[in-house]
C-alpha cells in the first residue's frame, strides 16, 4: 500500500468514526468536538484531492467559525447529558432501519452506473484546486453569484439580529 492509500483509509475511518460518535454521544459538547474531527478528516481528503483552497476554507469556515458558534450556543444554554431529551427505542430503530435502507440503495445505484466502474479521481494531476485557477473562474464566470452571496450574508445578519433580539 502506498502512502496515499494509507492516508485515504485512515482519513475515511476517522470521518466515519467521528460521524458515528456525533450520533451516539449523549453530551452535546462531545458531539460538537467529534464533528470538528469529521471536518478535519474531510479537509484531509480535500488536500489528498489537491483541492487546497477548499481544504483551507473548510477548516476556517466550518471547523473554525461554524463549530465555534455551535459550541458557544451549547455552552450558553448549559446543555449536558442530563438535559438530553429521550426518544423511545422503537422510533430509533425505525430511523436506523430507514437510514440504512437509503444507504444500501444509494450505494448500489450509484456504484452500478456504467461510467463509474473504471473511473478514478486523479489525485496529483491537474491544477483546478489551486487558488489561482479557482479565483480566475470565480471572478470571471461566477462573479454575479459571488456578489449575490454578499446580499445573502447581509440578509442573514439582519435576520439573526432581528430573531435573536429580546422583545
Amino acid at each position: 500500500m502506498s502512502t496515499i492509500e494509507i492516508l485515504f483509509w485512515f482519513l475515511s475511518a476517522l470521518a466515519l468514526l467521528g460521524a458515528t460518535m456525533v450520533l451516539i454521544s449523549k453530551n452535546p459538547v462531545h458531539s460538537i468536538l467529534w464533528l470538528i474531527i469529521v471536518f478535519f478528516a474531510i479537509s484531509g481528503h480535500y488536500v489528498l484531492l489537491n483541492a487546497q483552497f477548499l481544504a483551507i476554507v473548510n477548516l476556517i469556515v466550518y471547523a473554525g467559525a461554524i463549530m465555534v458558534l455551535f459550541l458557544f450556543v451549547v455552552m450558553l444554554m448549559n446543555l449536558n447529558s442530563d438535559s438530553e431529551p429521550k426518544k423511545n427505542n422503537r422510533l430509533k430503530m425505525a430511523g436506523v432501519i430507514s437510514g440504512g435502507c437509503l444507504m444500501l440503495i444509494m450505494i448500489d445505484v450509484v456504484r452500478s452506473a456504467s461510467e463509474m466502474q473504471k473511473a478514478t479521481a486523479m489525485l496529483k494531476e491537474g491544477n483546478i484546486g489551486l487558488i489561482r485557477t479557482l479565483g480566475m473562474a470565480l471572478f470571471k464566470d461566477y462573479v454575479v453569484p459571488f456578489e449575490i452571496s454578499s446580499v445573502l450574508f447581509l440578509s442573514a445578519m439582519v435576520g439573526a439580529v432581528v430573531i435573536g433580539k429580546k422583545d
Binding site: 429521550k86 473562474a137 445578519m157 439573526a160 430573531i163
Partner: protein, 111 residues
C-alpha cells in the same frame, strides 16, 4: 483512487446524517447532522470534479474542466454559513421561550 470509494464514503456519511436527523430530538444535534450531510455532498462534488478534470487533462494539460464542482462547494459553504447563523438564532429564541431544545415541544405550534 477509484471514484467508487469516494461515492461510498460520502453516501455513508450522508446516511449517518439522515439517521441523526431521524433519531435525535435535540435541535442542535439535528442541525449538526444537517451540516454533516452538506459536507458529505461537498466531498462527493470535489471527487467528481477531479474525475472529470482527470479525463480532460489527458488531452489538454491546462484544461480547467470540472472547476465548476469546486466552485459549487465554495458556494455551498457560503450558504451554510448564512444558514447556521439564522438557524442558531432561531434555536436560541426557541430555548428562550420553552427552556428546552427538544423538537417535540414544537408540536404545540399545531394548535
Amino acid at each position: 483512487m477509484p471514484i467508487t470509494y469516494y461515492i461510498t464514503l460520502s453516501v455513508v456519511l450522508f446516511c449517518i446524517g439522515v439517521v441523526g436527523v431521524l433519531t435525535r430530538r435535540n435541535a442542535i444535534i439535528i442541525f449538526m447532522c444537517v451540516e454533516l450531510m452538506l459536507n458529505a455532498v461537498n466531498l462527493m462534488l470535489v471527487a467528481f470534479s477531479k474525475m472529470h478534470n482527470g479525463n480532460a487533462i489527458a488531452s489538454a494539460p491546462n484544461s480547467t474542466v470540472g472547476i465548476d464542482g469546486q466552485l459549487f462547494v465554495f458556494f455551498i459553504m457560503v450558504v451554510a454559513a448564512a444558514e447556521v447563523c439564522v438557524g442558531l438564532s432561531i434555536i436560541v429564541m426557541m430555548y428562550r421561550n420553552t427552556h428546552s431544545v427538544d423538537v417535540n415541544f414544537l408540536n404545540r405550534l399545531k394548535n
